[in-house]
Symmetry: C2
Subunit: 329 residues, 2 copies
């Protein structure tokens, strides 16, 4: 881990305690990494910017957790077991030491919870907003990374958990008291929390490795990401929107403001996993996911067409979406 | 490589052509990486911020090259052969497409020149300055990464190339016409270019692996970085400042303005390598470095003391430095 002299002090005080063995105490220019024998190393990189991907007044510990978790979500979608991560942190002048303590504390909690230690990085200053780029490493048995491009015609398309909560939580943050004033506090907090803290579906990794043809994490909206996965696989799909899983909190908010249904489907920050399984493996996959404690829902099937996926509403009418994908705050 | 829909288009147009095989065409959430059989994977991460680590009006292609090269310099110091890199890019609104084309073009030139392909990353928008975090991967034969912490008492301390050129080039940028007006254009350009474009000393890798106890890249000023390497090794050193290699361009500028000598020694952005070799291997190391086309100079020796390194000037007088390390622009 590197930085100037003042930055070295910060690193030593706040980040060195989070370092895994591969990080060499964060005292070197570089770290050493190795996937276990017989495994491939999977690497992914996601960056978050204050005012774009989080609110600058979010708690610093939650920002740190989000930055790590969006990367863990990518590893989860690839069927990979986390190994460690690098942190590139650009600190604005007004980010004070107490915030840095909170940031490091939150990061450390998640590094332990997900068994994914800090192995190195860089700390710099910026005149702009807090910016966090994390590179996360994971391992999969050799040749078993789940690709985005592997969808086959006839595959069933599943999605984990529930869709739209985070986008609705973000909309509540944006519109403040005016939105969802009639909802109870627990419902509101559930949506706000889904925006603040993604829940990477790492528990699904063995089910994915056993049964999935393809997977990706849903970070930029279900409609856009599903379209992307089919496009890179050279296929299309039929999707039943009524089968897209919505939480009771999302249903409650959409009942008050029905227009928000589209936002749930196209908004971002779900960090759920979209999975394609061969039809014969669907039940076995569903059982394995259930055993892992992850809800999965079938929302459609892949077809051997080249056009964009077809979306049907509850009455079977074709739906299209002006904005397939999401561009954050 | 990930990004929103608009960002995907940018990636496809400008960055996918730079992708190595491990990057899976930048169409997946993650990349697969592997060190060659019998090798360890070395990872390093350095971030650059506009207005901090480069001038926002520097050519975009040169900014891209600098961002990659500062990481390659870390790999060089570890005796590692580059394998590939991840790019996390935060783009300000005023960074237009022609600048992005230049950025990708410069990055591609260096990716080819250093045989270090793009394997993935993330592109996001920022209300702040252009921010580039690169994670670079390299390989070393198993167990042979050159550590920062391996200095032994009696080791000779070498530094590659010449020290201070980049810091002097930066000072010229800052002070404009007033500084160095009496110097010829070639001298001025040499110093400016050393600031703009680091020259990673990758050619030194086999000499380092064969002969070095310890090494680090000099990025935050020779005095500060040398002190850091000795401190993490639990040692001290005697250093002869008159033996620190200065280019003829640096000497010419210092002749005009003698006070700048300290800036050359403490300023940053050298991206040279500081190396500790056992005394019996010094000549063999020097020959191997010469064969690799990299100049090296002995500047002192490590001692079994715990105090800060001792610096002596040309007359043998002790020197101390108010500012051991450097904090960029």
């Amino acid at each position: 881990m590197s930085g100037s002299s003042a930055e070295d002090d910060l690193i030593a005080r706040h980040f060195a305690p989070l370092a895994g063995a591969a990080g060499l105490g964060l005292r070197d220019d570089a770290a050493l990494l190795q996937a276990p024998d017989g495994c491939d190393l999977v690497v992914t990189c996601d960056a978050l910017v204050g005012g774009v991907h989080f609110f600058v007044d979010d708690p610093a510990g939650a920002i740190a957790k989000k930055a790590l978790r969006v990367n863990l979500s990518d590893l989860a979608a690839k069927g990979a077991q986390p190994i460690g991560f690098l942190l590139a942190l650009a600190l604005p002048p007004k980010f004070d030491e107490s915030q840095l303590v909170d940031f490091a504390h939150g990061l450390g909690e998640d590094a332990r919870a997900f068994a994914c230690p800090l192995v190195g990085g860089d700390t710099v200053s910026t005149p702009g907003p807090l910016t966090i780029a994390i590179t996360a490493f994971g391992s999969v048995p050799h040749g078993r990374m789940i690709p985005r491009t592997g969808v086959q015609p006839g595959d069933l398309l599943h999605v984990t958990g529930s869709i739209g909560d985070a986008a609705l939580g973000l909309e509540m943050r944006r519109r403040g008291e005016f939105l969802a004033a009639s909802l109870d506090a627990a419902t509101r907090n559930e949506l706000l929390d889904r925006y603040l803290l993604p829940r990477p579906r790492l528990a699904l990794q063995s089910a994915l490795r056993e049964f999935a043809h393809a997977a990706m994490d849903v970070s930029d909206g279900l409609i856009g990401d599903l379209s992307k996965m089919l496009r890179v696989s050279g296929l299309s799909a039929r999707v039943r929107l009524a089968d897209v899983p919505l939480s009771s909190a999302a249903r409650a908010l959409i009942a008050v403001e029905p227009d928000l249904c589209d936002l749930a489907l196209t908004g971002g920050d779900d960090y759920e996993i979209l999975v394609a399984t061969p039809p014969g493996k669907t039940e076995a996959f569903a059982r394995a996911a259930q055993a892992a404690g992850v809800a999965v829902s079938v929302i459609g099937e892949a077809t051997a067409d080249r056009h964009a996926p077809l979306f049907a509403d509850a009455e079977g009418r074709a739906r299209s979406f002006a904005r397939g994908s999401y561009s954050h705050l």
